[in-house]
């Protein structure tokens, strides 16, 4: 993910009261280089996987977790 974006982190703009789903949509729109990785990816909020309906608040650490490949 970092290699695709060219950075360890990116900035997205979302409305107040945005959900995880909103953040994912914004990532796809505002960072086209990440578009290919989004279908299989999930968001973690403060180091926990979050459902699409979960709200994202100021100060939250949001991580885009692409298809993992451990093991």
């Amino acid at each position: 993910m970092a290699a695709a974006s060219g950075a360890g982190s990116v900035t997205v703009t979302v409305r107040d009261g945005a959900t995880v789903q909103d953040v994912l949509a914004a990532l796809g729109e505002q960072h086209p280089s990440l578009h290919f990785a989004l279908p299989g990816a999930r968001l973690a909020v403060n180091s926990k996987f979050a459902p699409a309906s979960a709200l994202v608040s100021t100060g939250d650490e949001v991580a885009l977790i692409a298809l993992v490949s451990g093991g």
Partner: protein
């Protein structure tokens, strides 16, 4: 139910595993050893050839577009982790599998960083009363590891 998990830098050598687990693991501390009828161990080893998606796409028999793959020789894999989530998810997964299959003990260790071809990057050891639950637990753990634990491998080609 005893659970041991670790994410260690570099390959999982005998010495590295021994340091991580300590003498108490070998001595089966906390384990009612005479209730263990089956121990299953899985070692994930970096193999030399790794599949690479070809840039062109071909149409498969169903009429869907699919990437053609070929293999290239690796020198190593580099394992990247997202912490502290990787450690937490790894531990939570081990606890869940241990409880679900009524294991006596589960031990899971994964590498972080560079692991060369032929070296071990993942070790899973389960102790159970019977082979059935031990074998099921190993398969289920690995399937879930590849979904729920934020660890990624990046190829380092020859």
């Amino acid at each position: 139910m005893t659970v041991h998990t670790s994410i260690l830098d570099g390959p999982l050598t005998v010495a590295a595993i021994s340091r991580a687990l300590g003498d108490q693991w070998v001595q089966r501390a906390g384990l009612v050893w005479d209730q263990v009828g089956a121990q299953v161990r899985f070692d994930g080893v970096v193999r030399r050839m790794e599949g690479v998606a070809a840039p062109d796409k071909t149409i498969d028999a169903r009429g869907d577009r699919a990437s053609a793959q070929h293999e290239r020789p690796l020198a190593a894999l580099f394992y990247e982790t997202y912490e502290p989530m990787a450690t937490r998810q790894f531990q939570a997964l081990a606890e869940r599998i241990c409880e679900r299959h009524c294991l006596k003990r589960i031990t899971a260790i994964h590498s972080r960083g560079l692991v060369k071809v032929g070296e071990t990057s993942f070790v899973l050891i389960v102790d159970a009363a019977h082979r059935r639950e031990a074998l099921l637990a190993v398969g289920e753990f690995i399937d879930a590891l590849k979904c729920d634990v934020p660890i990624w491998k990046q190829p380092r080609w020859e």
